[in-house]
């Protein structure tokens, strides 16, 4: 954990010193985990994360720095922005996985566009099927497709989440790093298919 630039005590959050109540300008570049004073591990208790988020927001928000010197007001705005982004990222299981992979990326080579073997061909086939169903406006078949995509997505997410949790914050080796990244990339395709599925079905509802 870093230390307060003002009173030198160790910091709970990289953004703010609980001991002397000082804003930490170094917090503007802090990684999202240290914003909450947490080690970089995938398994996060979102409820307690939210509690820390609220406590920090109530200290850092620019609303409480209206009368402060302009530089301090600006700093509170910047730190609040950092805090909001950190919360938004870490509270979401997918965004959190993507973020933690980015943190690790500096240590192990990853493969931005890599996909599991045969996945792309499968996706193309599914996409084609979906377009036909959309064309035919076959609501029942579309609903089945939708359920199928959801199932695939769930399986995929559970799989990589399990892998991430088992790492317990240790940097993964090249093989498992590649595996996780592949699944995260695959997830984006599935999400896009799902969106295509539901956006068009709600359009036909109107």
């Amino acid at each position: 954990m870093p230390f307060c630039s003002h009173c030198q005590k160790s910091l709970q959050s990289a953004l703010w010193c609980g001991a002397c109540q000082q804003l930490q300008s170094s917090g503007l570049q802090a990684d999202y985990f240290s914003v909450f004073g947490l080690p970089p591990r995938y398994d996060v208790d979102v409820k307690s994360l939210e509690q820390i988020y609220h406590e920090l927001a109530a200290e850092l928000h620019p609303d409480f720095f209206v009368a402060a010197p302009a530089a301090e007001h600006r700093l509170s705005e910047g730190l609040s922005a950092r805090l909001n982004q950190a919360w938004q990222t870490l509270q979401d299981s997918t965004a959190r996985a993507q973020y933690i992979m980015r943190v690790w990326k500096s240590k192990t080579p990853t493969h931005e566009r890599d996909l599991p073997t045969g996945f792309l061909q499968e996706m193309f086939a599914l996409q084609e099927e979906l377009e036909e169903l959309l064309e035919a406006k076959d609501q029942q078949a579309l609903a089945t497709k939708h359920a199928d995509f959801l199932q695939r997505l769930n399986d995929l997410q559970q799989n990589y989440q399990q892998q991430l949790i088992e790492l317990k914050g240790n940097t993964p080796d090249t093989t498992s790093c590649k595996q996780i990244q592949q699944q995260l990339n695959a997830e984006r395709y599935l999400l896009r298919l799902l969106e295509r599925c539901s956006s068009t079905s709600s359009e036909t509802d109107l």
Binding site: A58, D63, V66
Partner: protein
């Protein structure tokens, strides 16, 4: 506490102010027994602005010279305002600098910012007179769905009125503050805010002292005005059926139809049927008819349905279900319409909360937020969101979102740019706001020109552009060339709204001839009040002579003379203290007069057989 920050609800139809009083708590700012509301209506007399009730009264005498619903024009260009909406207005619009809409009055043309500034001045002056303080800071509310341009326009209007808008606050959020602090209960609340010209739905999560907006949606061109227009449409049909040659497009005809429609709408909120009569000067016909709630309903339903679609979108964005809500709060004058309440109740499956006056709740919330910003309290914190995505134009005119809708503010996003030709020293970025895929369908906020990039081979410079959205939901942009660590200078070319130079010019012009001095305004205000009080005493003098002792009467007479003398003087505080003395002396008279009024009212009741 430091300097007071009042809350102002700058509405399409009505405006008012509120603040937190010591020992009393949040209250609207008004004189006892008077309405706090200033109608957002303006006209000019002998080159001077008339704002509020006076302007409203004159609106039928000079319809083309009466300005209303100005909020609908804020931060808009003329071409963005649909032709049929322009046709409904009884005043003229034209296009000004950068396509910005201008409002024509007499031989002059004004920006909506200047006109809104006059409304804000009226609110400010009245609040100053009542509070006896000079006010320079305010929280000003806007529809949650206002985009960056409309927010900037509101802030500029405040500057022109001599007010610093310390915060631009979303109206439904302001209402949530007023309700939330009233009840102090954790849970999920939906705020349904239907005003004169705008609709917002905001979903909030209350956890302890944190008020967090989860999702917001709305339509900045949907409101009670649309109810009126639907009724005007029906009235027009009826009149033309009876008198085929009736001329209903003149500004006067439009104004009369609009006001009749409004009266019908308001009356049918209390009764099931209303009779009306319409005739227009210079036209030989006169039309009479009646309107029932059953006839009204089909005219209102399409507008209400549009609001409910927005509610569903907001719920979807939040990932919430109707059943999961703990409370539904109604805000805005148009929510007093019974059909609105019925449909909202049906949609949300629960009776909406209306404990706080829907006309006042937004101003009250703004007043409370002002109290917090002034350092008067820290018992709650509002975390609001940006209503529409912000992004840039990329290849092929696609809109690349940098910050998505419903992101908590303040927030920021960074983007790297480079050059395409050798020794290129400037880059242009177009910034848009909206929810569509193509920039063509989004709002262009402006063009940012990055200059001063060091001359290098194409693709070498790395310019990091930071897009910051502050707690007001307003965007600022800065840039840094990473290789040389030099700040690239940014020139902002707003596509709408006023440039800094234009604001400065307007401010200078207003200093030149307006009576801006606080003391002078206070003196005028106190003189008017004194005049009213003196007249009031004269009116009831016969009662005074009967009810009060002769010495008391003499004392009052003497004090009245002192007040008259002070009215000629130049010191408002001296006048005020003499008026207070007069008030003390006449207190028992006031009680007697009041007693008499009650007595005669009671006597009348006795005469009328029950």
């Amino acid at each position: 506490m430091t300097e007071r920050i009042i809350g102002i609800d700058l509405g399409t139809t009505n405006s008012l102010a509120a603040t937190v009083f010591d020992q009393v708590g949040p209250e609207v700012i008004t004189e006892p027994g008077q309405t706090p509301i200033i109608p957002s209506v303006l006209t000019m007399r002998e080159g001077k602005w008339l704002v509020g009730q006076e302007a409203l009264i004159r609106s039928l005498q000079n319809p083309t010279q009466t300005l209303y619903s100005i909020k609908r024009l804020m931060g808009r260009s003329l071409e963005e305002i649909p032709v049929e909406e322009q046709a409904q207005l009884s005043y003229q619009l034209r296009s000004g600098e950068r396509g910005q809409v201008l409002v024509c009055l007499d031989e002059q043309a004004f920006t909506p910012q200047e006109i809104s500034a006059e409304i804000l001045k009226a609110v400010k002056y009245r609040a100053e007179a009542i509070l006896g303080e000079n006010l320079q800071k305010a929280v000003i509310t806007v529809p949650a769905y206002f985009d960056d341009v409309q927010r900037q326009a509101t802030r500029d209007a405040a500057r022109l009125a001599g007010l610093e808008a310390v915060r631009i606050l979303n109206e439904p959020t302001a209402a949530a503050i007023a309700y939330g602090l009233d009840e102090r209960k954790d849970g999920k609340i939906a705020v349904y805010d239907l005003g004169g010209g705008t609709f917002d739905i905001s979903l909030l999560q209350l956890t302890g002292k944190i008020f967090k907006v989860i999702a917001t949606n709305g339509d900045t061109r949907l409101g009670g005005d649309d109810f009126d227009q639907a009724i005007v449409g029906e009235l027009t049909l009826r009149i033309l059926q009876e008198f085929t040659d009736a001329e209903l497009h003149s500004p006067l005809a439009r104004q009369i139809l609009r006001q009749t429609a409004e009266t019908i709408k308001i009356s049918l909120s209390q009764s099931n049927e209303i009779e009306y009569a319409i005739s227009i000067e210079d036209q030989s016909w006169s039309h009479q008819g009646s309107f029932t709630t059953i006839e009204l309903k089909p005219l209102l339903v399409p507008v209400i349905q549009r609001t409910l679609q927005r509610c569903q979108q907001a719920l979807d964005q939040a990932g919430w279900k109707v059943e999961g809500l703990d409370e539904v709060v109604l805000v805005g004058g148009s929510t007093v319409v019974p059909e609105v309440r019925r449909q909202v109740q049906q949609f949300f499956g629960r009776a909406p909360q209306v404990a706080i006056d829907p006309y006042k709740v937004v101003a009250l919330g703004a007043g409370i937020q002002g109290h917090l910003l002034a350092g008067g309290r820290r018992d709650f914190l509002l975390l609001d969101v940006i209503p529409l995505a912000l992004g840039i134009e990329t290849v092929g005119g696609t809109f690349s979102k940098l910050i998505t809708a419903n992101t908590t503010v303040p927030t920021e996003a960074k983007e790297l740019y480079t050059t395409h030709v050798d020794n290129q020293t400037a880059i242009e970025i177009n910034i848009y706001q909206g929810e569509r895929e193509l920039v063509h369908d989004c709002r262009c906020l402006g063009r940012f020109k990055l200059r001063g990039i060091p001359a290098m081979k194409a693709g070498l410079p790395l310019v990091e552009v930071t897009f910051r959205v502050d707690a007001n939901g307003i965007l600022t942009v800065s840039a840094l060339e990473k290789r040389s660590q030099t700040d690239a200078s940014i020139e902002v070319i707003p596509f709408h709204g006023l440039t800094q130079q234009e604001i400065d010019d307007l401010l200078e012009a207003s200093y030149d001839h307006a009576v801006e001095d606080f003391t002078a305004r206070q003196l005028i205000e106190f003189r008017q009040t004194a005049e009213r009080v003196l007249q009031g005493i004269e009116m009831h003098w016969t009662i005074a002579e009967k009810a009060l002792a002769q010495t008391d009467c003499a004392a009052i007479r003497q004090q009245m003379e002192v007040v008259r003398q002070r009215m000629e003087g130049q010191d408002p505080q001296v006048l005020k203290s003499e008026m207070d003395r007069l008030g003390d002396l006449t207190r028992s008279l006031a009680d007697t007069v009041m007693g008499q009024a009650v007595l005669s009212a009671l006597q009348e009741k006795e005469i009328t057989p029950v």
